[in-house]
Amino acid sequence: MNKKQYEKIVKKHTPKEDRFINALSAFIFGGLLGVLAEAITKLLRVIFNLTVLDATVWMMIVFIFTACLLTALGVFDKLTTFFKAAIIIPITGFAHSVTSAALDYKQDGLIQGVGSNCFKMAGSVILYGVISAFILVIIGVIINV
């Protein structure tokens, strides 16, 4: 049997993922998270009399802190199995990836362990985030000229 024929057998017996349901749940729960973020921002503006920009930054800090805390308490990984992409794609997922990697390498020391490994997964987000921001700014400048 050659590899092509084998691939067919593998395809036949490999279960399909529920892409539609996953996408729908990400849309609904991700959307709800957005609503929550908007509510927190509004609340912060009313209570502390902040500008929109300041209130947004504080809202993000609340989300990041909550995600890190839930990861450290060992709850976040259980939430991801239910909410999936809805909480992985927003900033909560980014905070979670840094905290979980740091926890994994806690026993390996502060430099060789936590220091060199905590951006193991978040590193790509930072690198390509910066690069795409750079490119977008250039495009923005060109368009505005």
Binding site: Y6, E7, P15, A72, F76, S100, D104, M121
Partner: protein, 323 residues
């Protein structure tokens, strides 16, 4: 020729310990951890402790001192087979470390049986372990990340198993063995270990039957190790389409450990999955007289997978005769 017949090698006893998930599963285990740390500081230490627990228990049951053991053969999933090597630094036993991922148990038995058959060695021990979280850390994502897994993925079993092999007659005879070849059918999907390993299992089963001129129905049971549900279906289909062999008396160890609602996807994997099922279920049932144990291992390395290489696999077989 890749098969060998043994004159008088017997499995005399075994000792095992499992993790919390396995304890909550389908089989009954007496000895289990309550959590993944087991009062140790790290998961790695917990795996080493599991190995020393089973080895101590085996020695204690037979009133043996470490000096009485002529050779110990074993391995695990960690880099540099850490759990096995670090455990054995506290014992004074000649040690051969082996690695063939989840096929390690069968490879250990083959090596030990050969040494015992020379009659220069009287008592040998095979040992293996795996820990769900040490292997998650090593092969996949950080433990607390809880990365989402597809339905075709398998779940590394936590536990350790040690078995005593000697020339003294017992109910379980190691009758013959077939050494596997490294097989690569071009699968790159690290989640689909069943698909990676099924052709290796098929190759070894066919080699074994051909070398020893046996029919597949010669065996009361063919027990494959950790193919999982996906791999089992692929193996059955592969053997039928390729060789017109109907795989009837077959069980897969990966499918015997967890219950449906444990969210372990296609089933258990890891070097302990097969011996746990073999010693805890199959040999206790006393239902099968001739058993072909086919341990399958995926020989992937995260580095090679990142560099887009396909994944090679291996399977080793041992034939057991039960009285």
């Amino acid at each position: 020729m890749s098969s060998i017949l043994f004159k008088n090698v017997y499995i005399n006893d075994n000792a095992m310990i499992v993790g919390p998930y396995e304890k909550a599963g389908k089989l009954n285990f007496n000895n289990a951890l309550t959590d993944f740390y087991d009062n140790e500081k790290t998961f790695e230490d917990a795996e080493i402790k599991m190995q020393s627990t089973v080895l101590d228990k085996l020695l204690y049951n037979h009133n043996l001192r470490p000096d009485d053991i002529d050779v110990i053969v074993g391995g695990d999933l960690m880099n540099q087979i850490t759990a096995t090597s670090y455990n054995l630094k506290d014992y004074n036993i000649p040690f051969l470390g082996i690695y063939s991922a989840c096929a390690s148990f069968a490879e250990s038995v083959i090596v030990t049986a050969n040494l015992l058959d020379t009659r220069f060695f009287k008592k040998g021990v095979v040992i293996t372990s795996s820990h769900n979280l040490t292997s998650e850390k090593q092969f996949r994502f950080p433990v607390e990340y809880g990365a989402l897994k597809p339905k075709r993925s398998t779940f590394t079993a936590t536990g350790a198993v040690a078995a005593l092999l000697t020339n003294q007659e017992s109910n379980i005879k190691v009758e013959s063995a077939t050494i596997g070849k490294v097989i690569d059918y071009g699968i790159k999907d690290t989640f689909n270990m069943g698909a990676v390993m099924a052709p290796a299992a098929a190759r070894t089963i066919l080699d074994h039957l051909k070398d020893l001129k046996r029919d597949i129905n010669y065996y009361d049971l063919i027990l494959t190790g950790d193919l999982g549900e996906v791999g089992t279906n692929i193996l059955t289909d592969f053997l039928y389409q390729n060789n017109k062999i109907k795989l009837k008396n077959h069980l897969d160890a990966g499918m015997q450990i967890y219950t449906e609602d444990q969210e372990t996807f296609a089933g258990a994997s890891g070097p302990v999955a097969l011996p746990l099922v073999l010693f805890n279920k199959i040999l206790n049932q006393k239902k099968y007289k001739k058993i072909l144990v086919v341990a399958t291992g995926s020989l992937h390395s995260p580095v090679m997978c990142n560099q887009k290489h396909t994944i090679p696999a291996i399977a080793h077989a041992i034939s057991l005769e039960v009285k």
